[in-house]
């Protein structure tokens, strides 16, 4: 299951999608909206995605995981739209016979998700500013004025 959704994510969707009687270990990652970034209070977040390409790239990450670890049970879901503090933005579940592989694969899925899946985050601060962010740095903090 690889999905972009505007609905609330509980984590149960991805977990149920990977469960299998021969998979003893399920590693689940949930990313939730924090109330601050580097100490600056966050009001809410907005996520935008390119859904068909995002879902295709998620499926490709799962194929990479199958190649690397022989794991076939991977599910990813990412929310779009406005998210309040504490709401889940992303959930990834990996089921595997062995837990070490499951942890590695789930971590890999999150790393790759942030690299190649077309999803963007706009942070709206309590102080009234808002900006599109990219990992590790604010991207286009000030848009040039339209001429």
């Amino acid at each position: 299951m690889f999905k972009i959704t505007a609905d609330t994510i509980t984590g149960a969707e991805v977990r149920e999608a990977v469960e299998a009687p021969d998979a003893g270990a399920v590693v689940l990652f949930l990313g939730a909206v924090r109330n601050n970034t580097d100490g600056r209070p966050t009001k809410h977040l907005e996520y935008e995605a390119y859904p068909p390409m995002a879902e295709k790239k998620m499926a490709e990450i799962a194929e990479e995981i199958t190649d690397k670890w022989g794991i076939h049970r991977v599910a990813m879901i990412h929310r779009i739209g406005k998210l309040e503090i504490g709401e889940v933005s992303v959930a990834v579940a990996v089921a595997s016979p062995h837990r070490k592989d499951g942890f590695e694969a789930c971590q890999y899925a999150m790393d790759r998700l942030k690299q190649i899946v077309p999803i963007w985050k706009r942070e709206v601060w309590v102080d009234g500013d808002a900006e599109w962010v990219k990992p590790d740095a604010v991207f286009f903090e000030e848009l040039p004025e339209r001429t």
Binding site: G31, A32, V33, R34, T37, E48, A49, Y50, P52, M53, A54, K56, H78, S89, V90, M110, L113, K114, Q115, I116, V117, P118, I119, W120, K121, R122, W132, V133, K134, P135, F139, F140, L143, P144, R146, T147
Partner: protein
């Protein structure tokens, strides 16, 4: 030929539209679109360096050749998941 061009996040905001159709001459590449956008709004070019392009849901280069009906997208740096 006619292609659909999609803009996301900061590009969407910059160009004030999320999608448009473009009529392009045969033999056009992704670069043809980038040039057209630059004509409309010169400042966009300074962001090309950090942007990626996609054709039909796959990452592409500016030299990727286009065909009628293609869906092209400008992909600013992605932030999928969370900042943690």
């Amino acid at each position: 030929m006619k292609v659909t061009v999609k803009y996301f996040a900061v590009c969407h905001e910059m160009l004030n539209r999320s999608e448009e159709e473009m009529q392009l001459p045969e033999g056009s590449t992704v670069n043809t679109i980038l040039k057209q956008l630059e004509d409309e709004w010169p400042e966009i070019a300074e962001f090309y360096e950090v942007m990626q392009m996609a054709v039909n849901w796959e990452y592409a280069t500016e030299n990727t050749e286009l065909s009628d009906g293609d869906e092209v997208a400008l992909i600013p740096p992605v932030t999928g998941g969370i900042d943690v």
